[in-house]
Symmetry: C2
Subunit: 203 residues, 2 copies
Amino acid sequence: MRISELAEVSGVPVHTLKYYLREGLLMPGVPVSRTRADYGPEHLTRVHLVRALVEHGGVGIAGVHRILEALDSPPPSRHELLGVAHGTLVGPAEAQDATPPDPAVTAVVAALGWGVEDCVPVVRRLSEAVVRARAAGVELPDEDLLRYAEAMRAVARVDLDVAGRARSAEEAMRTVVLGTVLVDPVLVVLRRLAQEAESATRP
Amino acid sequence: MRISELAEVSGVPVHTLKYYLREGLLMPGVPVSRTRADYGPEHLTRVHLVRALVEHGGVGIAGVHRILEALDSPPPSRHELLGVAHGTLVGPAEAQDATPPDPAVTAVVAALGWGVEDCVPVVRRLSEAVVRARAAGVELPDEDLLRYAEAMRAVARVDLDVAGRARSAEEAMRTVVLGTVLVDPVLVVLRRLAQEAESATRP
């Protein structure tokens, strides 16, 4: 199909598709004349993926490149899979940033007893998010943070079950990387729905 | 303090502060000469709040206006509080959008037995997030969605406990509205930390 048809089928405007092409997020079409290229179903799938990541997964262009590379690479071990997925959250430049995490947040992470104190980039991200929320007026005492962490452990159990069901290494990679980024918005909305449900049960 | 000092203390560049002023997100300083205004601690607090919402809460300018209005308004009942918080997720224009939620997602919401089928704007947002994730290659079967929902119910229990502890109606408003938006990024990072912890316990 032409780029105009790809735009119509995908619901993504032509100028955005051209932007994806320029940024290397969408592979070029097959040239059929000097000014026209042909796009197939693999382009449509890629457009859906890129749009979901950029517009709704809150992933920047560099993050999308990292994810696309991961999906195209030979899958590493299960543990490295998680590393790649988490690398989409923490870019390489950011990972080198030496700002140490807030000691109070590090103490909460240790109190969880999860043995994850060594995941420094993720702990640093947690610290940033907690410090920001507190600076903006959310109290977020340590006890609440511990309870939130326990609830998210239940989410992670589902995540690992999903990854464990993958029928191939490629599917495991896709599941872990995309599931981590694209299920976040689902969880955020489920939280609001659960607030409504929980609110109705309280006096 | 001068705007340059406010920039230094808050870590937000002067041109961004001027943008916040133009957009009405930051209240004007007290004029001390024809070309200078004075900013106080209330401006610093507001800058922290706006930056947290815009840069890290993923809230658009219109959403920040809705949140600031809510924080300045006389607080409504507990149930309306949630409505205001959820209004920060679903703008008025969007709420009027008549696209019905995906029937499969509506069926999952009904299967939860939470009695929240009537929260149409939130169910529609859930449907959009699920449809998008599935179109981008995440399978997300209904059983997984139900398990994710149960985990987020535990998060909502903490949320409602936090709101219930508020010492005043103003604090309840602040807690619910900001806690909903600014704790999302904390939960997302906790999910990754929990994935690492859960992964270590599996063979």
